[in-house]
């Protein structure tokens, strides 16, 4: 028999194991904690480049160069990137991987921290990364736009005006937004023709149209709870056209009284009058936005819907046949605005970014250069029925789509008067802004209450020293 005292009892074993466990995790913490991925040089870091750069091969891609990418798999799918990757592989003989994802932020966050992000990322969708957190970790992409495209023309000369601005922070082009979106007020051209209506040019005209709609048992506008801020986009667009660049800068830079600017107030009051008159379909605060949109595009319960040009694609299956979806420019307050009525809130979407810590940033830039070529851009426009930021890829018949035709026309009419604004996306405030907007559209708070809430949201970001601000000029 062994002496029982030499036997460790269960409690002591547990105690020992616990101590060992804590010690183990504490020591491993020093070496492998989630945020301690040191700066040690990886030695022979591949860049995808290395060969001599010239006009035909501006990033000096070597034969057999490789690269990886993570592409948001949403409305546009990923095949248009695969298309460009194939062209890359054909020219350079290497392999460019294209991986789909719908959880960009969640999946890539640890890779950014661990300093091994993919070379190219399509940062889009509901789970995209708020770019102001990673500005310092991204390549400046101005050299892509300065390079020649595959047809031998400088890429920057082939793009729509304003294509650069949404991806530019403090002068650095951190993202190339590939898909051209215009923001407009969408309506059914056929319905308007039947009733002899015209899309409103001012808020007063919109109010009058609301009365005419009411007599037909229809509403002027409707909304869904997740998309209440589409009306914020409309109000801001309208205010910028009315009051010019001052308005845009005040809001972008989170000014103390940005939301009290007379032009912004004019637009909010214009909308308030419409809501008070009952021309806004009630119940939107409890309706899913796609359901609400179907009430507009299928059952035609309301005449107008403010949205981006993705609306045609989004509602394709739920649009009444013969609807003839058409976009009209956002209305102004007075009709004697600082910018012409044809001025357009248009912005490129689908932000492609190249992390500096990636292994082959040059390969990623080369793929972007290929995507911006006429061939790849035309391929996108044709298969997705949506233009990219590359001009002149959509024929005048818009591949048979009235929405696409009107989008091209809106862009043409606007000419150089194209603007966009970024602060909502940049600081991730949309969620906070949805709350007062839903209340306002339901008629629960008035213009003053809405202004106060929106200003409070801007103030909160401005006063939060932990949030990095971008100065917009």
């Amino acid at each position: 028999m062994t002496d029982s005292r030499s036997m460790p009892n269960r409690r002591n074993v547990l105690r020992l194991a616990f101590a060992a466990g804590v010690g183990l995790s504490a020591s491993s913490a020093l070496t492998s904690c989630a945020t301690s991925g040191g700066d040690e040089d990886t030695g022979g870091k591949a860049t995808g480049g290395g060969a001599k750069a010239d006009a035909k091969n501006p990033f000096g891609i070597k034969d057999g160069a490789t690269g990886t990418s993570v592409i948001f798999n949403g409305g546009w799918g990923i095949d248009y990137v695969t298309f460009a990757a194939k062209m890359f592989e054909k020219t350079h003989g290497g392999k460019f991987e294209v991986k789909p994802s719908t959880q960009i932020s969640q999946q890539l966050q640890p890779r950014f921290v661990g300093k091994n992000p993919p070379d190219l990322i399509d940062n889009s969708g509901a789970n995209k990364i708020g770019l102001n957190a990673i500005v310092d970790q991204l390549e400046d992409l101005n050299d892509v736009l300065d390079a020649n495209n595959l047809e031998g023309k400088p890429i920057k000369d082939t793009l729509y005006p304003g294509a650069k601005s949404p991806g530019t922070i403090d002068g650095k082009l951190i993202a190339i937004n590939y898909v051209q979106t215009v923001f407009a007020i969408w309506y059914s051209a056929s319905l308007f023709q039947e009733n002899d209506w015209t899309p409103p040019k001012t808020w007063d005209e919109a109010y009058e149209l609301g009365g005419k709609a009411k007599s037909k048992g229809k509403f002027l506008f409707l909304w869904g709870k997740e998309a209440a801020t589409y009306y914020q986009t409309l109000v801001i667009g309208s205010a910028i056209k009315e009051g010019g660049d001052d308005v845009r800068l005040a809001l972008e830079n989170l000014d103390k009284d940005g939301w009290s600017h007379p032009a912004v107030q004019g637009a909010i009051k214009g909308l308030e009058k419409i809501i008070k008159a009952g021309y806004m379909k009630p119940g939107g605060a409890g309706t899913q936005f796609t359901q609400a949109q179907a009430q507009w595009s299928r059952s035609q319960e309301a005449l107008l819907y403010p949205s981006g040009s993705w609306i045609e694609n989004e509602m394709k299956k739920q649009t009444k046949s013969g609807f003839k979806m058409t976009g009209a420019p956002e209305m102004t307050e007075t009709g004697s605005s600082k910018m012409p009525l044809t001025a357009l809130h248009a912005a490129a979407d689908e932000a492609f970014i190249v992390p500096s810590d990636g292994k082959n940033p040059a390969s990623a830039k080369e793929v972007l250069r290929i995507m911006l070529s006429k061939e790849a851009a035309a391929n996108f426009a044709k298969t997705k029925l949506t233009p990219t930021i590359v001009k002149d890829t959509v024929p005048t018949d818009g591949f048979g789509s009235t929405a696409l035709q009107s989008q091209t026309k809106l862009l043409e009419d606007a000419g150089k008067d194209v603007f966009t604004f970024n602060f909502v996306n940049l600081y991730g405030t949309n969620q906070d802004q949805l709350v007062p907007w839903n209340s306002f559209l339901s008629g629960k708070i008035d213009a003053a209450g809405l202004t106060k809430s929106l200003q409070a949201i801007s103030d909160k970001v401005r006063n939060d020293s932990s949030v990095k601000k971008a100065k917009v000029t």
Partner: protein, 305 residues
Amino acid sequence: MRPGRVGFLLVTLGLPLAFYLGLVVWPFIQAFGYSLTNWTGFSGNFDVIGLDNYVTLWNDEVFRRAVINNILLVTVVPLVTITLALALATMLTVGGASSGAVRGLSRSSFYRVVSFFPYTIPAIVIGLIWAQNFDPSNGLINGALTSIGLSGFESYPWLGDARTAMPVSMFVIIWAFVGFYMVLFVAAIKGIPAELYDAARVDGAGRIRMTFTITVPMIRDNVQTAYIYLGIFALDAFVYMQALNPGGGPQNSTLVMPQVLYETAFRKNQFGLASAMGVVLALLTLFFAVLVILAFRLTRGKDPR
């Protein structure tokens, strides 16, 4: 000690303990560490800012609203769910005919299966289905109400009105859980010796009396466990709230802490602040569990333990 024994101990105690420490305790400590920083989540750089994040949370109206909503949930959901589940379980086990042996309603096994159904459906599906039912224009609820002549409910936004959004969300959660806890309580009640009920009946006790003097005291451990489980769930409630009102509802009336946390981390890139929220949530959960255990201990009465 014999070598075989060491191996046995290592496998049965050491491994689970290592897993527990590495995957549960360590992330907790890490989260607390991050909550003291201004980490943005996407780089290795951050500054230690002490308790600033907690001060921010204290002053943050939206987060306070979420805490209040969670406390509302934790007060109402377990209470109503358990009361209903107990009532139903009693009906199914001792609520039957008042003559002869004590038994449940006829066809009780059918009712049991039917009420268990909701629990077999994933929470997200339940949330989405009910969101459709409560749709103002095309929902079943308003359709039914207007068809019986209540025209005031035409396009009434149940989930879009601050007065009804929270009660409706609670209803959906309770609807989803009652069946499961009913089955749990049925099993517990079946474990009570039938003689007790028979004796009580001979003494002239009615069903209500039997419920309060026999059933509830005999299954109080089950009730306590159920209360803690449901409470922890109500402090989360992420899935249902996300399905019913992803934005937190009108005037943030259904916003819960995990939603704010998710938003703060992945949309606003304030991982430090989000970690602080996680710590607050964990502390609240612990506090709740202790509170329930204490309450049950204090109300134990003369029953020696």
